[in-house]
């Protein structure tokens, strides 16, 4: 069983929700990315998303744009990210998902990528500029390698597209909570609960909510309706603020732990 499926199956047995932190790989460097992923696991994260930096991240807000720029200036490539994933995998069994724009994947070749990702111990792939209609080659290569292709659903997706996405998606469905790019917002967007309910009516696959979730309160609200919560820009912003400081990994770990606590069901009364 794929580590992602096992993770959600385990959580569902006791009503647990997944906290999924995202970092841009290579920001500020690969060694830190590896340490952050392991730290997140130690702090109770259930799954880790590693962003592959791209020169033209048009689905991302300024926080992840800057992180991508820094990572690219540091020489980060898709192959380097795969090598860091392999390092994480040697020390941990936490599910790992890469998030990459489509062009670097096409340049490596979908089959070559899927093989290399599986070899590195990567479990899933999210491609923000690849809707199911265009995903044939990537999906087939990933399926053959046992790599889960996770599609995104959006507030603007009509029912027939939700069906298409629910069917195409492996591992989980990434529900984009708002119209817009990634980046911290002050409140959870309205309509998330209804949208997640619509998806649930279509599929038993887990639904994780992301985009804009910047506080433990928002994460708790999202966890109340979904199977998982993705926190990206808020974490990347912490990495940016703590750049060059020895306590970066620990401080970002503590920050992530705050979200982990927010999505955990309250412990039964003693």
């Amino acid at each position: 069983m794929n580590r992602i499926d096992a993770c959600f199956a385990g959580l569902r047995r006791h009503g647990g929700k997944a906290l999924i932190p995202y970092v841009t790989a290579g920001d500020p460097d690969g060694a830190t990315t590896v340490r952050l992923a392991l730290e997140f696991e130690k702090r109770g994260a259930d799954l880790v998303e590693l962003g592959v930096p791209f020169s033209d991240p048009l689905a991302d807000g300024t926080t992840i744009q800057r992180a991508s720029q820094r990572a690219l200036e540091g020489g980060t490539t898709l192959r380097a990210v795969l090598a860091w994933a392999a390092e994480i995998r040697q020390a941990s069994q936490i599910p790992l998902v890469l998030m990459s724009y489509v062009n670097p994947l096409l340049r490596m070749g979908p089959a070559a990528f899927a093989g290399a990702a599986r070899e590195a111990g990567v479990d899933g792939l999210i491609v923000p500029d690849l809707p199911p209609e265009e995903a044939g080659e990537v999906l087939a290569a990933n399926d053959a390698a046992g790599l889960a292709t996770i599609f995104l659903a959006a507030p603007t997706s009509p029912p027939e597209r939700l069906r298409l996405i629910a069917e195409a998606s492996r591992g989980y469905i990434y529900y984009v909570s708002l119209k817009g790019v990634t980046g911290a917002r002050t409140a959870l967007a309205r309509g998330v609960a209804d949208a997640v309910r619509s998806l649930r009516a279509l599929t038993p696959k887990p639904v994780a909510v992301g985009f804009g979730i910047a506080t433990p309160d928002q994460a708790a609200a999202a966890a109340a309706v979904a199977d998982g919560v993705i926190v990206g820009s808020a974490i990347v912003d912490q990495v940016e603020r703590l750049r060059g400081r020895a306590e970066l990994v620990e401080r970002v770990g503590v920050f992530v732990e705050g979200f982990v606590r927010a999505v955990r069901p309250a412990p039964p009364a003693a």
Binding site: F54, S55, D56, P57, L58, A59, G61, Q65, Q69, L72, T77, L78, R79, V102, N103, P104, L105, L106, R107, M108, P128, D129, L130, P131, E133, E134, F151, L152, A153, A154, P155, T156, S157, P158, R161, I165, V176, K179, G180, V181
Partner: protein
């Protein structure tokens, strides 16, 4: 009666693909908006009232048809084929871009959108969008790279005078590519009330098809005009290719005419060997940028490369997917002219014909100088004079001063 236009190949297909090129590589949030746009465009195409209004605007507002002018002194100077200039530079706002923006803004209004956004490189598309928005009473915001704002400062002032908000984009190469990223981010955020007026035959379906259709008026007119002037079809069509909208607009109505040779001229910058250029067919590989599969200048890891051209309008890392298809099919030839050659073309056009061309269009003139002498004297060649060069006067003056040739 001129012979009727033969039917052009029916592309793109239902998925928006030109062979393997094109498609819809966009965030999910935009997929519904693209479907809505495709449907609205299809309806508008079949609606006589919409078509009549567009024709009225093209004629009485944009100034169409534009003349096809026999360039006698340029012909004599280059020595060879008879050269005609399709005078898109005489369109209102000074370039072919208005053909597309009038169509799209009219469509946006029909769709009930209150706001339009656009990207711009040289500023011509930004000005044309701001113009159409002012004419039809819609709010307009234009994204422009800070490098382009610097080198096309006149157009920034024009857009602001026309009531548009010009938002600087200070990311990446600070040129057209980065302006498109930012415009797409805006569209993802404001997709409910905003139409994105994409300025070239780029992006996700239906844009490459829709922009081509709005620009094909250039080729349709040229066809009639050359038949009237010469009594036959031209031998060669020449146009510069950034995203490729002026080129596809000229070429498209002639695609089925096997005797008509078509040549697209890309920006060779400092030379293809230098790496500082925007010659996608010479230096690029198939990839995806801004929603469409096409030829893309990229590094071995799939990161988009920084391009260079003296002309902001050609300074872009990818090219319209239909051009990729026509390149692979061997129907259109793609060549490049360097900055230096384009500047020479610019001066030659000024001096022989009294027409100050846009630096973009000057690339086509530059290639004509190379090509014309190799063709027989009875050959007929049409150069698309896609825009006028007022916006470039300062750039050229600065370059002359650098070289001590005031």
């Amino acid at each position: 009666m001129p012979p009727s236009t033969p039917e052009a190949p029916v592309l793109p297909d239902r998925e928006g693909r030109f062979g393997p090129y094109g498609g819809k590589f966009v965030p999910e949030t935009l997929m519904a908006a693209l479907a809505e746009l495709e449907k609205a465009y299809g309806e508008a195409q079949r609606e006589p009232a919409f078509q009549a209004e567009l024709q009225r605007l093209l004629r009485f507002y944009a100034g169409r048809p534009t003349p096809l002018f026999f360039a006698a002194r340029m012909t004599a100077r280059f020595g060879g084929a008879r050269l005609y200039l399709k005078r898109e530079d005489l369109c209102h706002t000074g370039a072919h871009k208005i053909n597309n923006t009038l169509g799209q803004v009219l469509l946006a209004k029909r769709m009930g959108k209150r706001r339009v956004i656009a990207e711009t490189g040289a500023g011509q598309h930004g000005v044309a969008t701001a113009t159409a928005a002012a004419l039809m009473g819609l709010t307009c915001e234009v994204y422009m790279g800070t490098e382009d704002m610097r080198r096309q400062a006149l157009n920034v002032v024009r857009m602001r005078l026309l009531g548009a908000k010009v938002t600087p984009v200070d990311a990446g190469s600070r040129t057209l590519k980065d302006a498109i990223n930012e415009a797409m981010r805006d569209w993802v955020t404001n997709v409910g009330d905003t139409h994105y007026v994409l300025g070239s035959v780029l992006g996700a379906h239906p844009y490459p098809m829709m922009v081509r259709d709005f620009q094909a008026v250039i080729g349709r007119e040229t066809r009639e005009q050359i038949l009237e002037a010469e009594g036959r079809l031209p031998d060669v069509l020449l146009a510069c290719v950034g995203g490729g909208s002026n080129a596809i607009g000229l070429f498209h109505p002639f695609l089925a005419d096997g005797t008509v040779r078509m040549i697209g001229v890309e920006a060779g910058g400092l030379g293809v060997a230098s790496g500082k250029h925007a010659a996608r067919f010479a230096g690029g590989r198939v990839g995806v940028l801004h929603g469409s599969r096409s030829y893309v200048l990229q590094d071995p890891d799939g990161q988009i490369q920084i391009t260079h051209s003296v002309s902001a309008g050609l300074d872009y890392a990818s090219v319209g997917p239909e051009h990729a298809y026509l390149y692979e099919a061997g129907r259109v030839e793609y060549v490049s002219a360097t900055d230096e050659e384009a500047l020479r073309g610019f001066h030659l056009c000024c001096e022989t014909e009294g027409i100050i061309p846009a630096l973009e269009s000057a690339h086509a003139v530059a290639y004509a100088e190379r090509l014309a002498p190799t063709l027989p004297r009875e050959a007929v060649c049409v150069i698309n004079m896609s825009g006028r060069g007022d916006k470039d006067v300062q750039i050229v003056a600065d370059l002359l001063e650098e070289r001590g040739q005031p």
